[in-house]
């Protein structure tokens, strides 16, 4: 998710269990969470935030199928039309010999395709600098961020105080 030119108020938590409790409390109070940050995937967080299941694997399947077709049809064309050579007395169209390469190409296409798709969706890539909310979020802190334009700052601060946040900051991203 890319956030640009937005005033964000966020609270830092020391423990992922506190974070989970705070997210539950925010849901209960109908506070609109902008995003949650964590150094590692927290178990059970996705359903609380109402995140949909990723569709990246569907793209992965399509890339994989493309890899299968590319390798199989490619080899078929090369070995039967373009440059037929007899290998060990086998027929030109030797399906068993094609399988390992088809398999490898499927994996290659699926993996590279998914990585590229993931980078594009996330706005990542070489030379791209993404604003960080707080450097400690890559180490041992967890954060809940609200859009400061959508929440009363007093309400946000009382929420953070109530749910045991160790620190509350604002930042313009």
């Amino acid at each position: 998710m890319t956030i640009r030119d937005k005033k964000v108020i966020y609270g830092l938590y020391d423990d992922e269990q506190d974070l989970l409790k705070a997210v539950k409390a925010a849901n209960k109070d109908h506070l609109d969470i902008l995003d949650v940050f964590s150094p590692f995937p927290v178990h059970g967080l996705d359903p609380l935030l109402g995140l949909e299941e990723s569709r990246l694997h569907i793209a992965g399947f399509i890339y994989g199928a493309l890899g299968t077709l590319t390798a199989f049809l490619g080899m078929t064309w090369i070995f039967t039309r373009d440059w037929p050579i007899v290998f060990g007395g086998k027929p030109h169209w030797s399906v068993p010999a094609f399988i390992p390469i088809t398999f490898e190409t499927t994996v290659l296409f699926a993996s590279i395709g998914m990585v590229v798709t993931f980078y594009v969706i996330c706005g990542l890539g070489p030379g791209v600098t993404n604003p960080t909310l707080d450097d400690r979020l890559t180490d041992d802190k967890f954060a809940i961020a609200f859009d400061a334009g959508h929440i009363d700052s007093g309400a946000a601060e009382s929420f953070f105080a109530r749910t045991g946040a160790s620190e509350v900051n604002t930042k313009i991203l």
Binding site: H43, G44, E53, H57, F61, G88, G89, K90, P96, A97, I99, P100
Partner: protein, 428 residues
């Protein structure tokens, strides 16, 4: 934590299934086309190997999980223990078959034909390994050790369920035994598969065969676990076994179906590529005379589970994973059918050729080929007939009967297992 009580209707149903099995076995003694009753003996061997293997793999997998400090399966580990205790019944039948090598009950194994031992160069060369004494004594040793470990793991698990505690004391003991069993299981299962199954095609060998057959057992074991769990859940037992556990079992089913295919294909491709006559004959024979079984095997055990179980939700939904488990279980039974029947039929024809005075190695060989080419369809050999399905149902019922009586004989859930909490809160 409820105890399982086997309802009378289930008992009746399983006994009926066993009755069908016995009836079909008796029928297969009489409908066979050859004097050796090969159809009867191959049915017996086929199903015994299949279900004993499932039983062995369940024990193997319990030991793997204990060695790896795994906890997710603890809720339903009694099911695998119950599976592992079936093996003794399989062993009884295997001992009968081993005795048959001495008494001449059957002519399943070409290497046991006295004429071939002398005149057939290849069989003569292999006779230090492929002979009735190794089959009997080696088999007894392996079966004895397997059964000892099955009992040992079961008794440790029961003791842990009764008075285990958070100090993991029983688990440490169980872990030592499990770690001792694993290397033995690895080598002995290959020995057993070579002796029981691969040696049916006595001229042929493949170094991948034991892995391939073992993977087949593993997939079947996971299928049966899923089916037993889904059945138990439908009867109100194992409420705490959730979609999370089923999901993990579904992943095992998916992953090991691919693993099986990998081994199946590697074995096939290397032999196809190298094109050495004495190796390719195995597949030539199966491709020419058993095409439906050969390609169907791949379709039912790879293509089908691969595409159905690829999605996340089909591994979790009881309906879809259950249907895949039924079909793939049958698929691997079919796989064993293809491993066992062609070789045994060929041997029977070859020996029949000898018996009718053709004499010599080539006479028998040619006669066997002539018979196979003359008739492309031999019910019970080139395709499973109704009798084979009946025997399968019989063995399945016997297996399930043993499993359910063992489940009823102990608490369903190992209550004081230190891993129980982890298993209850399992989340993928």
């Amino acid at each position: 934590m409820r105890e399982y009580i086997m309802p009378g209707s289930q008992r009746t149903l399983l006994f009926a299934g066993m009755g069908v099995g016995v009836l079909c076995l008796i029928l297969s003694w009489f409908v066979g086309t050859d004097e050796f009753h090969t159809r009867f003996w191959t049915n017996l061997l086929h199903n015994t190997v299949f279900f004993t293997g499932i039983s062995f793999i369940a024990l193997f997998f319990i030991c793997v999980c204990i060695t790896a400090w795994a906890g997710w399966y603890t809720l339903f580990k009694r099911v695998w223990e119950a599976f592992s205790l079936f093996m003794i019944f399989g062993f009884v039948i295997m001992i009968i078959i081993a005795l048959g090598n001495y008494m001449g009950f059957h002519h399943l194994y070409h290497w046991n034909d006295p004429d071939s031992i002398i005149n057939d160069k290849i069989i003569n060369h292999k006779s230090t390994f492929l002979n009735k004494n190794v089959y009997m004594i080696g088999g007894l040793i392996v079966m004895g050790v397997w059964y000892f470990f099955a009992r040992k793991m079961r008794s440790l698990s029961l003791a842990e369920g009764r008075d285990g505690d958070a100090s993991f004391s029983y688990h440490h003991t169980a872990r030592v035994w499990a770690a001792a069993f694993l290397p033995f299981a690895g080598f002995s299962s290959a020995f057993i598969i070579w002796q029981w199954v691969m040696s049916l095609d006595a001229h042929w060998y493949s170094t991948m065969f034991a892995w391939y057959a073992g993977a087949s057992w593993f997939v079947s074991m996971i299928c049966l676990t899923l089916l037993v769990l889904l059945y138990m859940k439908s009867k109100g037992y194992y409420e705490q076994v959730t979609g999370e556990h089923i999901h993990d079992l579904g992943k095992f089913l998916f992953a090991f179906s691919i693993f099986w295919t990998y081994l199946w294909f590697s074995q096939y491709m290397l032999i196809w590529y190298a094109n050495v006559g004495e190796e390719t004959i195995y597949f030539r024979h199966r491709l020419d005379n058993y095409p439906v079984l050969f390609y169907g095997n791949l379709l039912i055990n790879f293509i089908f589970p691969f595409f159905v179980l690829m999605r996340n939700d089909t591994k979790r939904k009881f309906g879809s994973v259950g249907i895949v488990a039924v079909i793939v279980l049958f698929g691997h039974w079919w796989d064993y059918f293809l491993m066992i029947k062609p070789g045994a039929l060929h041997t029977a024809h070859e020996l029949a050729g000898h018996g009718h005075g053709h004499g010599g190695d080539h006479g028998g060989h040619d006669a066997a080929h002539a018979v196979e080419h003359a008739s492309h369809f031999v019910s019970g050999f080139t395709l499973p007939g109704l009798i084979e399905i009946g025997v399968f149902i019989g063995f399945l019922s016997a297996f399930l009967y043993v499993v359910y009586t063992r489940l009823a004989s102990a608490p369903l859930v190992s209550e004081r297992d230190p891993y129980l909490a982890e298993s209850i809160h399992h989340h993928v």
